[in-house]
Amino acid sequence: MTWQTFFDFSTMGHRHLIFVYAGVWLVQLGYLTWIALNWRKSTRN
């Protein structure tokens, strides 16, 4: 597989492959960012 075929949106299978890889990163980074923002907000007394 190449980058070109990875970003091939022509079939459902290819679309779902990209949704999985992009979605997993998005959700995981989103959760890490949420923890980091709360960490910054909650300064140690």
């Binding site: 597989m1 290819h14 779902h16 492959l17 999985v20 995981q28 959760y31 923890i35 909650s42 140690r44």
Partner: protein
């Protein structure tokens, strides 16, 4: 060097190492391992689905052990019990995250592979139940007004942990739409796919440990701030009015 500074540097190093392993895993999964003969490229979803599924059955046990420790220490050593409680809540959130990703990636794979988004078979149903149990655990913690929230949550955690071996064994005990075990003894996975599986498993395990530790530290900070506020309120109430 201060302890907090060493911990912060270790955290950054662990983050960089996790991302490096995940980049290698991505490269293996998308560009290097051969295309599977029957499903084609859509089978590459497997390399993100499997690690999340495996780790989604490991983090519940962190929550379970921390909940047992909380119940054991809550009268003997309340400070240790609070630490265990912080670990339990962190592990429950990471469980919801990993099991949720397993369900979502499984559905995105199921539609092109089976022609359906969902089947009410034993594996999928017990996995959904696991996710719902840990969502309810977090809801109990968030909304319970009983004053015994920690105890209620710890008991719920013990019930939730019972579902984990059922999820694991479901594809061995019952005939399911979900495939039988593909890894290990008797598995149907060709060894040429192993590098992508193992790199991604290692990467998402390292990532999981990172977010679990960070969430635990956040919860500990919240607990300590709450304790200090309570102490200040008691001190203020004891001051003699002029």
């Amino acid at each position: 060097m201060a302890r907090s500074s060493v911990l912060r540097n270790a955290g950054w190093l662990w983050l960089v190492a996790s991302i490096a392993v995940l980049v290698v895993g991505f490269r293996q999964a998308i560009f290097l391992v051969p295309t599977e003969a029957t499903m084609g490229n859509v089978q590459r979803i497997f390399y993100y689905h499997l690690p999340h599924a495996i780790l989604g059955l490991v983090f519940p046990y962190v929550n379970f052990l921390a909940s047992l420790a909380f119940l054991f220490w809550r009268h003997r050593d309340p400070l240790k019990a609070l630490t265990a409680d912080a670990l339990a809540v962190a592990a429950a959130e990471v469980t919801v995250l990993y099991v949720g990703i397993t369900l979502a990636t499984g559905m995105l794979w199921g539609k092109p592979a089976w022609g359906i988004w969902w089947a009410w078979d034993a594996r999928l149903t017990s996995e959904l139940l696991l996710w719902l149990l840990y969502v309810s655990y977090l809801l109990v913690r968030r909304f319970s007004m009983s004053g015994q929230t920690g105890v209620l949550a710890a008991v719920l955690s013990i019930f939730a942990a019972i579902d984990v071996p059922i999820v694991f064994m479901s594809i061995r005990w019952w005939r399911t739409q979900h495939p039988a075990p593909v890894f290990g003894e008797g598995g149907s996975l060709d060894p040429s796919f192993y590098p992508a599986v193992l790199w991604n498993l290692a990467g998402w395990a390292m990532w999981g440990i990172l977010i679990l530790t960070f969430r635990f530290a956040l919860e500990r900070r919240r607990q300590l701030n709450e304790q200090e506020e309570a102490l200040r309120a008691i001190e203020a109430s004891l001051e003699i009015p002029k």
